[in-house]
Assembly symmetry: D2
Homo-oligomer: 119 residues x 4
């Protein structure tokens, strides 16, 4: 049985293969494409206050753009991880194991100063 | 039954709540954090040729850094999507449905000129 | 007589030539390096409120980091423009000429909604 | 006498003031806008080989887009530095002073491995 993430990676692999686009999908190129899409996501949020950004999904047009930009980012991240043979879920949990050791809940409560959250 | 991606989103939500860090996790801030992590990923690949980047996982140290950077990107993307209430898998498949209509396999075969792959 | 920006571009060219690093300074690689440095700039500001970000230079340590990150961004931008043969000052003024035509001061006063400032 | 860079910063300040846009031009927002523009620059170069990227200015249309994207990046960088009170030229030279000490020309000749150029 495959997971939803593996199914997506498979579909992206087939999509690239059907168009003979694997030649463009080097890690270097895919990382640039990922960064380009994240840039579009930033552009959606750059002039909003943090409070406005928290309400962005209430506006159907802005919500549609956010969904579209997040999808583009997800597509390139999943494709890049697949090309590199990295299991994103496993790698993310390893990061969180580390984060739980490094950022003791009591010490870091409410503070973005002492340590950047999740880093 | 929850998926692996939902489990990760749940764990991130709990991690933030336990540290009272939800206040920092606005879409604006999370998008910046996501972009910062993608910047670290680019830094790993910037001086490599595309061919060298395709072999980057053969060097255990570089492979470890790539896995770590991809994990950071995944963590912030999943957290951002959770805060916004966006289903990443569904949104990504909607993009691919559109991509399959727009980029007919025969017309776009082998060409990154006519259209940017996956966009 | 050369300008301060041309002097900086000359020094960067000499710096790269003395180390035989021109081979790495393709537009593709330099654009990635530029993006990586912008990512570090974002990381400095990601958890600050906009108001806190406006006071960031009052903290000597944070001010030093901001100056350092801005310098890195400037270095890669000037080097990239030099490699491409683009006059940044001229290109920026052309953008502003266009911006003044597109964003009539009376129509766009106080609004980041109607149009993204400076775009 | 003012420099070309100061003239550009002045014009940007006037442009923002005439539209009452200073309220949007916090360091946080401007850093996001800068990153968004760098994302557009990456998108221009993402599918090109490094060699193709070195010839990008030979194609008049691509050259125009590169000039336009570089201008956008320069505009936000100069505006951000102005808002923060940072002298970009001075900060960049300080970086190069440091780079010349750190990266001895003989030791680092031809090598992007031992140290990332210009960092």
């Amino acid at each position: 049985m495959t997971t939803a993430l593996e199914d997506l990676a498979d579909r992206l692999r087939d999509f690239a293969a059907a168009r003979d686009w694997e030649q463009f999908h080097t890690p270097k190129n895919l990382a640039m494409a990922l960064a380009g899409e994240v840039g579009e996501l930033l552009a959606e949020l750059q002039w909003l206050t943090p409070e406005e950004s928290a309400r962005v999904m209430r506006d159907p047009e802005a919500a549609g753009r956010m969904r579209s930009e997040l999808a583009d980012v997800a597509v390139y991240l999943v494709r890049l991880a697949d090309v590199l043979g990295v299991d994103l879920i496993e790698a993310a949990h390893a990061k969180l194991d580390e984060g739980e050791r490094r950022y003791d809940a009591d010490t870091y409560r409410g503070s973005a100063r002492k340590a950047p959250p999740l880093q």
